[in-house]
Symmetry: C2
Subunit: 201 residues, 2 copies
């Protein structure tokens, strides 16, 4: 039964499920990866992120297991292009095989929308990313956001993005190894929520 | 009962609750505003957002109902400082009374962390913002992110931020008027999730 806000009868259970989501490291992610319908549902849910003027700054590109070798060659080329040595190139190539499932997060940040400055578009993209991670979690899959050098390489960007887009980060995803150590809960920070008091005038 | 991923027995109900969240416009938000414990719980949950190197780019500042008049004076001063006319100043002052509950979203973006470029910090802040909105929703409160001129005014920034921080946006929140029109579901976008194919080499 859903109330006016669309929330079911046990919001505390929902909150608990939301709170239980943590980034799952690559070493704790096992096959199977989320199947296409799970990824599709997660991607569709991201449309619920706040998005001033509906700019839709983010899209997701799935790298299938058959494409990992090609991605590895791309990473290797990107590493070589930045002058890394042979072992650096090998490491870069291997990184393309991280995680049972892999998505590229592609962002288009426009600078020609006066009412929506670029940082608001980044906030919107981050909100969409969060929904994707939660939707994977709620469907039983662990995930983690990875940044790093390869995401910022022009060689890699061109293989994923059209003009005006950039590759913001990667998402690795799979089935959380139940034997893996529980991720630590984050530290509280006292000043996370404070009350405003105006300066004496 | 929670499984290995911390997800309860009915993940589809959880997904549905997640999917049901929409931004609720100011005119559809009625008192009561979320009480302090609801805001506190929502803020604490935001610590579950991805946050490379634990930079914690975001914090929230609650503007109580007794501080709205002072905020209004601040908005009026900010409007006057940018040369707006008398009616513009009056409008700006009135804007401080929008929404039964009001939070300022304060962000600190560091440019001295080579592994975490500013855009990754914005993504993290956006993810935290999303969790806050969802946690309000799951506790029965509607909310909406507002940007706008006042968030970018230096007069207002100084009243909320310390050195190196900026006021990214506002969140208005309250009880959703059940008589208000349902927010529209977002349009689907075909290319939201695609499969990568490497360019022929």
């Amino acid at each position: 039964m859903l109330g006016a806000s669309g929330v079911g009868a046990d919001p505390l259970a929902l909150l608990q499920a939301l709170a239980a989501r943590r980034s799952v490291d690559a070493h704790a992610l096992r096959p199977p990866a989320p199947p296409p319908e799970v990824l599709q549902r997660a991607a569709e849910l991201t449309l619920g992120a706040p998005d001033h003027q509906g700019l839709r700054p983010v899209r997701f590109v799935h790298v299938g297991s058959e494409e990992r070798a090609a991605l590895g060659e791309l990473f290797a080329r990107a590493a070589a292009a930045t002058g890394r040595d042979a072992s650096g190139v090998i490491n870069a190539r291997e990184r393309a095989f991280t995680g049972p499932g892999l998505l590229a997060v592609v962002v288009r940040i426009r600078d020609d929308v006066p009412d929506v400055p670029p940082y608001e578009q980044w906030l919107s993209a981050g909100a969409a990313l969060m929904i994707l991670l939660q939707a994977l979690h709620l469907q039983g899959y662990g995930a983690k956001v990875l940044g790093g050098r390869a995401a910022r390489s022009e060689v890699v960007r061109r293989a994923f993005c059209t003009e005006g887009e950039q590759l913001a980060c990667w998402i690795i995803t799979g089935t959380r190894d139940p034997a893996a150590e529980e991720p630590k809960p984050p530290d509280m920070r006292r000043e996370l929520l404070t009350d405003w008091s105006p300066a004496p005038s």
